[in-house]
C-alpha cells in the first residue's frame, strides 16, 4: 500500500490520523488505557515512539518548510531500535577527544549501517569523523 505523504492537515496525528498511530507492539492509542495498564497488558514498549511515527512527523515538518527538523526526525527514526546503552556509547564517542582517530567513528558508522540500517546517521557520523580529523578533535583532553 502506498499513501500520500502526510502534511499539516493530518496533524495532530493522535486526533486526525489515529489509524496510523500505534505503539511498538501495534497497540492503538485507544488500547493504551488505564484499564489495560492495570491488568498489565500495557508496558513501556507500547508507550515508545516508532520509526514510522517519526517519519510521518518528518513529512509533516517538511510540508511546513522545516527541512532540518524533518532531517532530524528521519535520523531519529533510524535510532528507535538502538539499545539505550549503545546510543549513549555513540554519543560519548562523538564528544571531543574520546575517539583516538577516524577509524573508531567509521566503525560506528559501519555498524549503524549493517545492523540498524541507519544510513543517514551513519553518513552524519562519517562527516563528523572527517571534520574531527581536520580540526584536531581526536586528541584526548583528560
Amino acid at each position: 500500500m502506498t499513501f500520500n505523504k502526510l502534511t499539516g492537515k493530518d496533524y495532530p496525528l493522535a486526533e486526525n490520523r489515529t489509524d496510523l498511530v500505534q505503539g511498538h507492539r501495534g497497540k492503538t492509542l485507544n488500547e493504551l488505557d488505564l484499564a489495560s495498564l492495570e491488568t498489565g497488558d500495557v508496558n513501556m514498549q507500547d508507550l515508545r515512539i516508532t520509526g514510522k511515527a517519526l517519519k510521518m512527523q518528518g513529512d509533516i515538518a517538511r510540508s511546513a518548510n522545516r527541512q532540518k527538523l524533518a532531517d532530524n526526525f528521519e535520523r531519529a527514526s533510524e535510532l528507535v531500535d538502538i539499545p539505550q546503552g549503545y546510543l549513549m556509547e555513540i554519543y560519548e564517542l562523538l564528544r571531543p577527544g574520546r575517539a583516538s582517530d577516524q577509524s573508531e567513528l567509521q566503525a560506528v558508522a559501519a555498524k549503524l549501517r549493517s545492523t540498524y540500517q541507519a544510513n543517514r546517521m551513519a553518513e552524519f557520523i562519517e562527516e563528523a569523523a572527517e571534520v574531527y580529523e581536520q580540526r584536531g578533535l581526536f586528541t584526548s583532553r583528560f
Partner: protein, 760 residues
C-alpha cells in the same frame, strides 16, 4: 579649630542615597570589543559574505572553506541553503530589517530568507532595529500563535512532598512546562517522580523536565518521568564548545536520540557564555549567538532556550546588552525555532530593570515568555534566582492585567491552590506507600501544604531523598508503576492525566516546533501558526481568556465599598446623631465658622480614608474652633460634593466669612468668602494620612482666620507613599456615591449634632 561651616561640601548627598539602592549592586562594564565586551559590534565580527562554487559553500562570512572551524563547517553544510544564499545575501541588510517590521511581508517569506543567510548577515540585519522594532518583529515572527510560559520547580532540600505540591501549584497557575533540578545530583530520580505526580493534579498537559547529567536525563526520560529536555547547550566559538565537552555533531546526535525516544527537546544558548568561558575571539555577543542559532537549526532542533540564560547578568552589564538579548531571540524565531525566550536568570537587583526587561516579551508574546520563571521562592531555586520568582508572581499577574497581555499565567484563588497542594501531597504519599518508597507522616504533609518555602517544612531532608532516589533508579521503577499506584489508591484522575502525558510520545505530535498541550490538545506551529499580518490578526485575547487574566484577588467594587460602609453604620449611630432643623441661611455673627458637610457625610459613608470615624472628625473640628472662643455651625450641602465648593459655600453662609468644607472621605478645606473656588486658604488633600490631630488644628486655624490672624498652615507630612495607587479606586467609588446624592436645586440644611458618649 576649623569652622565646620567653612568646609566646602565634597559630595552631593543624593549620591550616597543612590549608593544604597539595589541597582548599585549590579555591575556595569565599559565597551571593550577587543576583550569581548561588545553587544553588537565586536572587534573581529566578520562582514557578511558568501561564495558558492560547484554547489558548495566556498566562502562564508569572509572565511574560506579550508579555514572553516567546526562551527563554520556545520553551519555551511547544514544551515545555509545553497540554492538561495547567493541571491539572499545581496539584499541590503536595512531592506531586510524593514521587511521584518513590515506587517505586509509574511512570516513564511522571511523564514525562507533566513535559510539563505549567514550568521554575520542575520546579526547585521537585526542590529538595524531599535528595541521597539525588535519587539514588534518578535511578535510577528514567533512560531506559535498562542503564548506560553515555563517555570522552575525546585527546593533547597530536594523534598519530594514539596516538589509535588509546588508542581501542582505551578500547573494551576498555567505553566505549560515545568523544570526541576537538584541540590544533590543523585536525587534526580526522586525529583522527577515527585514533580511528575504533582504535575498530574488538576489538569494534564504540563510538560516536565528534569535537568541533570546528559545520560541520566535521557534515562529518566526513557522511564517516562520527564517529557522534554532543554539542556543541549551549544556555544559560538570552537574552543568554548570543546570546553563544554561537545561538538555540533555530538549535540546533533543527542537531538536525534531524544526524538528517537519520543521526548521533546530544545537546545540552549545565550549571549555571554563564550565570554564567561574565556573564548570570545573578540566577537560580539550577537554575532556569536547568531552562530549558535544557525547551528541549532542545522542540527534539526525544533527550538531553543535562548536570550542570555546563565549569561544574562553578564550581557546586562554591557551597554545595549538587554537590547542584544532581545535581538538574539528575534534571530531564533526568524530561523523558525521555538523560543523559550530567556527572562530566566535574575539579571539585576533593580526591580525596575526586572520589570522593564520582561515587558517587551509580555507585550509581544513568546512561545515561553520565561525559559524558567521561578515558581518557588528565590532561596528554593536550585537553578539560582529567576528574573521573576514566587515572591513576584502577583506582580507578573498584574502586569498581564495592566497591558491585557497574555503571559501564559492565570490568577487562582487561595482555596484552589490549597486544594491542589493537598491533593498533590496526598497523591505522592500514596505512590510512596504503594511503591514502598516511604510513608510521609501527617505532620510532614501538613507542613508542606502550608509552606511558602522549604525553610518552613518539617519534611524529607536531602539524605532521605538520596535513599528514595536510589531505590527508584535501582528497582527500575517507571512511570507505569506510578500510574498503577495512583489508580490503585483512588487517584484515578491523576493516573489518567499522567497516562495521557506519556501517551504523547507515541504519536510524536509534540515533537513539532513550539508544541505545548492546551485543553487536552497538542498545539504547535503546525496547527496554531502565528499568522500575524497587522492589527486584528495573530494572537487575540479572547473574552474568556481576558476574564481569566484580569481576575486577580482583592478587587474593589461599589458593592464591596458600600457593604463595608454599612458595617460602620451601626457603630457610628452610637456616636453621633445629625438633626436637620431647616434650611441653612447666611449667618450674621462674626464669631462663627461654618462647617459644610458633603451629601453622604454620616448618612451613607462613615469613615475617612484614614479610617477615622466621621463623628471623631467633627468632634475635633468643633473642639479646635471652640478652643479659640469661636462657635461652629454645621450645614449640610446637597448641591455639590466637591471640597472646594463645599468650603466656599460654607464660607459664604458664615458670619465670619470663614468656612470649612469636609467630604466623607476626609478631604477638607478652609475657605474664605472672597476667594475663588480653587484658591483656598488651606487644603487637606491627603485624607489617607490626615489624622485627628490634623483635624483639630484645622479647626483652630479656621478660627484664627476668622479672628483676622495668620496662623501657621497645617502641613500633613507625606513620605512619598503612592497614595493614589493605594486609594484612588476606593476614592473614585466613594466619591461616586457622594456625587450620586447631589441635587442641584436642594438648599443646604441647618444641622445640629449631638455626640453620644462614644469613642472618646
Amino acid at each position: 579649630m576649623v569652622d565646620p561651616m567653612s568646609v566646602k561640601p565634597n559630595r552631593w548627598r543624593r549620591f550616597s542615597q543612590w549608593d544604597e539602592r539595589p541597582l548599585r549592586l549590579d555591575s556595569f562594564a565599559v565597551d571593550d570589543p577587543e576583550n569581548g565586551f561588545s553587544a553588537m559590534k565586536g572587534a573581529a565580527d566578520p562582514q557578511p559574505s558568501v561564495e558558492v562554487i560547484d554547489g558548495k559553500i566556498a566562502v562564508m562570512d569572509g572565511i574560506a572553506e579550508a579555514d572553516f572551524d567546526m562551527i563554520d563547517t556545520f553551519v555551511a553544510r547544514h544551515h545555509l541553503d545553497v540554492e538561495s544564499t547567493v541571491q539572499t545575501m545581496t539584499m541590503p541588510s536595512q531592506q531586510v530589517a524593514r521587511m521584518l517590521v513590515d506587517m505586509n511581508v509574511s512570516r513564511n517569506d522571511l523564514v525562507k530568507l533566513a535559510h539563505g543567510m549567514t550568521p554575520a548577515k542575520l546579526a547585521d540585519v537585526v542590529a538595524h532595529l531599535t528595541a521597539m522594532e525588535i519587539s514588534f518583529a518578535y511578535s510577528k515572527m514567533r512560531p506559535r500563535k498562542t503564548p506560553g510560559n515555563q517555570g522552575h520547580v525546585t527546593n533547597a532540600k530536594d523534598d519530594p512532598l514539596q516538589l509535588a505540591a509546588d508542581a501542582a501549584t505551578a500547573v494551576a497557575f498555567g505553566f505549560d512546562e515545568i523544570e526541576t533540578t537538584m541540590r544533590v545530583s543523585r536525587n534526580a530520580w526522586s525529583n522527577a517522580l515527585a514533580c511528575c505526580v504533582g504535575a498530574a493534579v488538576g489538569r494534564w498537559g504540563t510538560l516536565f523536565q528534569c535537568s541533570s547529567e546528559e545520560a541520566e536525563e535521557l534515562q529518566i526520560g526513557m522511564a517516562g518521568f520527564s517529557s522534554y529536555a532543554e539542556t543541549v547547550s551549544v556555544y559560538g566559538t570552537e574552543k568554548a564548545f570543546i570546553d563544554g565537552d561537545d561538538t555540533p555533531w555530538s549535540k546533533a546526535f543527542l537531538t536525534s536520540a531524544y526524538a528517537s525516544r519520543g521526548i521533546k527537546m530544545r537546545c540552549t544558548s545565550g549571549a555571554g557564555a563564550e565570554l564567561l568561558m574565556g573564548f570570545h575571539e573578540k566577537k560580539s555577543l550577537l554575532y556569536l549567538e547568531a552562530r549558535c542559532l544557525c547551528m541549532q537549526r542545522a542540527m534539526g532542533s525544533q527550538g531553543t532556550q535562548n536570550g542570555g540564560i546563565d549569561g544574562a547578568p553578564l550581557a546586562s552589564s554591557i551597554a545595549g546588552g538587554v537590547r542584544e538579548l532581545m535581538a538574539e531571540n528575534l534571530i531564533a524565531v526568524w530561523l523558525d525555532l521555538e523560543c523559550a525566550s530567556g527572562n530566566d536568570a535574575r539579571s539585576s537587583e533593580s526591580e525596575i530593570r526586572i520589570g522593564a526587561k520582561i515587558l517587551p516579551f509580555l507585550m509581544s508574546g513568546s512561545d515561553f515568555i520565561c525559559s524558567g520563571f521561578g515558581t518557588i521562592l528565590k532561596y528554593d531555586n536550585s537553578f539560582n534566582a529567576s528574573l521573576f520568582n514566587g515572591e513576584e508572581m502577583e506582580d507578573f499577574l498584574v502586569l498581564q492585567r495592566d497591558f491585557e497581555a497574555d503571559g501564559g499565567l492565570t490568577p487562582i484563588s487561595e482555596t484552589q491552590i490549597l486544594d491542589v497542594r493537598i491533593r498533590a501531597v496526598e497523591a505522592l504519599s500514596a505512590v510512596f506507600e504503594e511503591l514502598k518508597l516511604g510513608a510521609p507522616t501527617t505532620a510532614m504533609k501538613n507542613s508542606v501544604v502550608a509552606a511558602s518555602g522549604s525553610d518552613e517544612t518539617e519534611s524529607y531532608m536531602p539524605r532521605d531523598v538520596s535513599l528514595i532516589s536510589e531505590k527508584i533508579k535501582g528497582r527500575g521503577i517507571t512511570v507505569l508503576d506510578v500510574i498503577k499506584a495512583l489508580a490503585k489508591r483512588d487517584f484515578k484522575q491523576e493516573a489518567e492525566h499522567l497516562l495521557s502525558l506519556v501517551k504523547l510520545r507515541v504519536s510524536g505530535d509534540y515533537l513539532q516546533t513550539s508544541a505545548i498541550v492546551r485543553n487536552d490538545q497538542v498545539i504547535s506551529a503546525i496547527n496554531d501558526p502565528n499568522d500575524y499580518n497587522g492589527p486584528g490578526s495573530g494572537y487575540q485575547l479572547s473574552e474568556q481568556r481576558r476574564n481569566e487574566i484580569i481576575n486577580i484577588r482583592d478587587q474593589l467594587s461599589r458593592d464591596a465599598v458600600l457593604h463595608k460602609e454599612e458595617t460602620f453604620r451601626v457603630k457610628e449611630a452610637a456616636n453621633i446623631a445629625y438633626t436637620k432643623i431647616g434650611q441653612a441661611m447666611a449667618g450674621k455673627k462674626t464669631d462663627e465658622v461654618v462647617i459644610g458637610l458633603s451629601p453622604a457625610f454620616g448618612l451613607k459613608l462613615f469613615r475617612t480614608l484614614a479610617d477615622h470615624s466621621l463623628a471623631d472628625v467633627l468632634r475635633e473640628l468643633i473642639s479646635g474652633i471652640e478652643s479659640k472662643g469661636l462657635k461652629a455651625r454645621i450645614v449640610r450641602f446637597h448641591h455639590t460634593a466637591d471640597t472646594s465648593f463645599l468650603g466656599l459655600s460654607a464660607a459664604s453662609l458664615s458670619g465670619s466669612g470663614i468656612g470649612i468644607g469636609v467630604q466623607a472621605k476626609g478631604t477638607a478645606v478652609i475657605h474664605h468668602i472672597e476667594r475663588l473656588p480653587h484658591n483656598n486658604l488651606e487644603l487637606f488633600s491627603n485624607a489617607p494620612i490626615t489624622n485627628l490631630a490634623h483635624y483639630r488644628k484645622l479647626g483652630e486655624n479656621a478660627a484664627d482666620y476668622a479672628l483676622g490672624q495668620m496662623p501657621v498652615p497645617v502641613v500633613v507630612p507625606t513620605r512619598g507613599e503612592a497614595l493614589g495607587a493605594r486609594f484612588h479606586a476606593r476614592v473614585a467609588l466613594i466619591y461616586a456615591i457622594e456625587t450620586s446624592l447631589t441635587s442641584q436645586d436642594s438648599p443646604p440644611d441647618e444641622v445640629t449634632i449631638s455626640f453620644r458618649g462614644g469613642n472618646k
